[in-house]
């Protein structure tokens, strides 16, 4: 029948031993790069586990990276900007990519900028802004989130009293949870795969997920799937914007980003993130392009008020980079050059943008927006679209069947300030 006392002894010893092994494995592999355990080839050189815990991982990474330049933005920044790219000027290095994938909001950009500045040494900030985020008001969370508790400072810059407890909690959960164990084992098991997703110590991410999806489904399906998502999103935005009066939502967050950078003498470049023509057409055909122009105008006015301390770059246009053709349905082999899908640009395009903003001899892509250039810029983009869509009949829109008319009539006038 067995002996209950022996059962209990064996149970306790086994449980304690297994728990110790789990903690040791998680500490050694450090799947979320929380502890900064040295990366070991064949065991933990690549960090795929940080994929779903990017904000956690990056908030610890940035404190260790001591960057001179921090790049901030959403998943497109996380994927498309290489902090180690040769195009970064020497004076701006080291660079840290603080782009956050999943559940991104502009308010996260403000908090991550504050965090990067709080850990010290940041002299430059490049903040990517996704145009869609300025059409839906962001509401602050009802209480403090885990991320709020983790940052070194509160939103008003005071030391964060919740941080010590949150750090202890993070450490514990990174050492003693099933998710951490599974991610540790996946990390070790995946090291032989040279295309494994990796979060580098400088915050850059490999494009492994997109590479895998492109191999499996082809670029056409990746564009088509995202088009369907963006079409739904644009429809919702169109409903919100239909009766919207006055300034666009969330510009106060950009104003706070500017104020934060200026307060800490950080050189700030704001960047309107490029999107593929598929996405641009979806928003155009939902009647939202005047709102896009309104956004650019309001951002330009905001930046102009700083007297040259902040720059504003616009990469949201119908240039050849943003309107590359998408392979046909069924073609799973032909690659694209600049975009993984309509909202995520590839690192090659990221490098061109870095070169354009901070280097020389860059291809003609994007433009600095100022009160003197914005009218011409808007007109140029409309002309490019007119030429591309209305005259050359380029077949943008990969798989959206319900999009509105192509609007090849004379352009409308933007409702907002110009």
């Amino acid at each position: 029948m067995g002996n209950p006392r022996s059962f209990l002894r064996t149970w306790i010893v086994t449980l304690a031993s297994l728990a110790a092994v789990v903690v040791a494995v998680n500490l050694l592999v450090d799947p979320y790069d929380v502890f900064g355990t040295p990366r070991i080839a064949g065991i933990s050189l690549l960090k795929p586990g940080a994929k779903n815990h990017a904000l956690l991982a990056k908030t610890y990474q940035v404190a260790r990276a001591h960057p001179v330049t921090v790049v901030i933005g959403s998943s497109s920044t996380h994927i498309g900007i290489d902090a180690f790219a040769p195009e970064w000027p020497a004076a701006m290095r080291p660079v840290y990519n603080y782009g956050i994938p999943g559940g991104y909001a502009t308010s996260i950009s403000l908090r991550t900028l504050q965090e990067a500045i709080a850990v010290g040494g940041v002299r430059n900030a490049v903040v990517f802004l996704d145009f869609q985020n300025f059409f839906v008001p962001e509401h602050p969370a009802s209480g403090l989130t885990e991320d709020d508790r983790r940052y070194h400072t509160t939103p008003d810059g005071a030391p964060n009293p919740h941080r010590p407890l949150q750090v202890a909690n993070d450490m514990f959960l990174s050492l003693a949870t099933m998710g951490a164990l599974i991610d540790s084992l996946s990390t070790v098991a995946g090291q032989g795969n040279r295309d494994l997703l990796n979060l580098a110590p400088d915050g850059s991410s490999t494009e492994a997920d997109f590479i895998d999806a492109a191999r499996a489904d082809g670029m056409h399906d990746m564009f088509a799937q995202k088009d369907a998502f963006e079409a739904e999103r644009a429809g919702e935005i169109a409903r919100i914007m239909a009766n919207w009066q006055g300034k666009l939502p969330n510009l106060d967050i950009v104003a706070a980003i500017i104020a934060c950078a200026r307060h800490h003498n950080v050189a700030l470049a704001l960047v309107i993130t490029p999107h593929h023509g598929d996405a641009l057409e979806i928003y155009w055909r939902n009647g939202l392009w005047p709102r896009v122009e309104q956004l650019k105008a309001e951002l330009t006015a905001l930046v102009a008020a700083q007297g040259g301390a902040v720059t504003l770059w616009d990469f949201l246009d119908y240039s050849t980079f943003n309107t590359e053709s998408v392979p046909r349905a069924g073609d799973r082999r032909t690659p694209t050059h600049w975009f993984w899908e309509p909202t995520h640009f590839k690192k090659q395009l990221g490098e061109i943008m870095i070169q354009r903003m901070f280097g020389s001899d860059a291809p003609a892509f994007g433009a600095l927006l100022t009160p003197n250039t914005i009218v011409a810029r808007d007109a140029e983009i409309r002309a490019d679209r007119q030429s591309l869509i209305c005259e050359r009949k380029a077949a943008l829109l990969t798989a959206v069947e319900t999009a509105g008319a192509d609007g090849c009539a004379p352009p409308e006038k933007a409702p907002g300030p110009t």
Binding site: M1, G2, N3, P4, R5, S6, F7, L8, R9, T10, W11, T14, L15, L18, A19, V22, L173, A176, T177, M178, G179, A180, L181, A216, D217, D221, A224, Q225, A228, F229, A399
Partner: protein
């Protein structure tokens, strides 16, 4: 405090056990007082004000029970009045906190009454505690309970392993155990308790909880009026059925295990209900202690009363003469429907719960009618069982899964939308990524109306695999009661005379192999504690 929390497992429970064993080694009474005290702390942990609500209720019920004890034989009319007053008091207590808003809302909806709805604090476990207190009063009145003190009664109501979500226990099955509890560390009890508790923890955290994020968006979309294709609707239905199945099964195992740490055996509450071959069988396996309560205190008295009335009028009843439709409707269908409506309302103050109870009532009536009619239609019972048990299983399974949609849906209209999706009213969609890998089969699927959609193929695959695996666990493996049957894990559970084939290698023994295996199970549960989640039945 949740059973599945670090605070409970590494703080509260060790302290509760250490105090109980230490005091029990000196005097059992001290150990039981300690158990009452820590149960009160457990109850107050979430919201201390709860104690201010439950304590007066305990005192009033104790006073009523004392009065009943003294008047039951000498002044039966007074005793009956006291009993009725006690039941009304408890139902009003429950009704005020749990149903006032719902009733006012329903009056507003129907008559535009204009009641201003206020957010009342719902005391934890109020539905379970109320039923237990009513059962206690009825048992005292019926002479089935005597010799009780305030300390006994307090412990009976507050005993923390069953305080919040059952099982609903009877005083007469608990108090003798408390009085006989050794109050000392008992290695076998602790080994059995540990095994039950950690099997339950793993069921809850490893099997049930990951389903929540998969099904919640589907019910959310249905609530927003977005039609779901057959694929999504069935994922919503099966996903939630399995989520609540493993959640409740896990909770029930943990409650049994916790009781056993103190040397107390609780009644069976959950016994592989998805293996049921009829709806009657289902209710003998799902939330067994609630079924037992409803049967004993609502269904049986009602049926008895109606039977007496019919007999007095000379109308046919069940028994001697063959029953007619009138007898069936009056003596079986009506009490069944009423009992199941009470069950539905007990689960929650909402239209979906009432409809869920009513739907199960209808299914039970159909099942009862078939049981009565079948011997005449199909007299060969052996052949009937051989052929129809699998059919009964499929019918029961589909009915239970479909009814669970009503249980989870935020509104009847959302449930209707999902039901329509389940029968294909909104077509069948599969992710494009799946379609493009099916080759010639894709063409055939298109020809029968299956449409490609830009949804995630990997998510569908992972969800399907998870649901199939969990169904296999629920339907094929023995349950913990069967595995631990040799050690009576719950009151009255004994090893089966003909144990299921798969049980052979899974019969629990306090040996080293099981200790190592259970340590792995416990570790999986403990490592999954990071994401706190309430038991679904705690909301009732």
């Amino acid at each position: 405090m949740l059973f599945n929390s670090y605070t409970f497992i590494f703080g509260f429970l060790p302290v509760a056990l250490a105090g109980f064993y230490a005091l029990g080694a000196r005097r059992r009474e001290w150990a039981l007082l300690w158990l009452t005290a820590v149960s009160l702390v457990f109850y107050a942990w979430w919201r201390p004000v709860n104690v201010l609500l439950i304590a007066p209720s305990i005192l009033v019920n104790y006073g009523l029970a004392r009065a009943l004890e003294q008047t039951s034989e000498a002044r039966p009319a007074l005793a009956r009045a006291i009993l009725v007053a006690g039941i009304i008091f408890n139902l009003c207590f429950l009704g005020y906190f749990k149903y006032l808003n719902f009733i006012e809302g329903a009056l507003n909806d129907t008559f535009g009454a204009g009641f201003v709805l206020t957010q009342l604090i719902l005391p934890l476990g109020i539905s379970f505690i109320t039923f237990q207190k009513i059962a206690f009063l009825v048992d005292v009145h019926g002479g089935r309970v005597s010799r009780f003190s305030l300390a006994d009664y307090g412990l009976f109501v507050l005993f923390f392993p069953q305080l919040i979500a059952g099982p609903i226990v009877h005083y007469r099955e608990m108090m003798p155990q408390f009085r006989a509890a050794p109050g000392r560390f008992d290695a076998e009890n602790v080994a059995v308790g540990l095994s039950l508790f950690f099997f339950g923890l793993a069921k809850k955290l490893v099997l049930a909880d990951p389903l929540g994020p998969l099904v919640a968006p589907l019910y959310g979309q249905a609530a927003a009026g977005v039609p779901q294709s057959m694929t999504e609707a069935w994922i919503a239905a099966l996903g939630f059925t399995l989520q609540i199945y493993f959640d409740f099964s896990g909770y029930s195992d943990m409650a049994l295990g916790l009781g056993r740490f103190f040397g107390i055996k609780l009644p069976v509450n959950f016994n592989s209900p998805l293996k049921a071959t009829s709806i009657i069988d289902f209710w003998l396996r799902w939330h067994v202690s609630l079924t037992r309560f409803l049967t004993a205190y609502i269904y049986n008295p009602l049926t008895l009363n109606l039977t007496r009335r019919r007999m007095a009028k000379g109308k046919p009843i069940f028994g001697g003469r063959s029953p007619n439709i009138g007898a069936f409707v009056n003596l079986l269908a009506m009490p069944t429907m009423l009992t199941m409506l009470v069950s539905g309302i007990w689960h929650g103050a909402g239209y979906t719960y009432i409809l869920w109870g009513a739907l199960h009532g209808v299914l039970l009536c159909i099942n009862h009618a078939w049981r009565l009619a079948r011997p005449r239609i199909w007299p060969d019972t052996k052949a009937y069982r051989r052929k129809m048990v699998p059919v009964g299983f499929v019918l029961t399974f589909v009915s239970v899964v479909a009814a669970m949609v009503l249980f989870r849906a935020p509104s009847p209209s959302a449930a209707l939308l999902l039901w329509k999706g389940m029968v294909g009213a909104y077509g069948v969609r599969l992710p494009q990524a799946v379609f493009s890998r099916l080759g010639v089969v894709a063409g055939w699927l298109t020809s029968i109306g299956v449409q490609p959609a830009w949804t995630s193929g990997s998510l569908l695959l992972a969800t399907t695999l998870r649901i199939v695996s969990l169904l296999a666990i629920a339907l094929l493996l023995p349950n913990t009661l069967q595995m631990l049957a040799a050690f009576e894990p719950a009151i009255g559970v004994k090893p089966a005379k003909t144990p299921p084939r798969l049980l052979h290698g899974l019969t629990w023994m306090p040996d080293r192999v099981w200790a190592v295996g259970l340590a792995c199970v416990a570790l999986a549960g403990i490592l999954s504690l990071g994401e706190l989640s309430e038991f679904l039945y705690w909301q009732f």
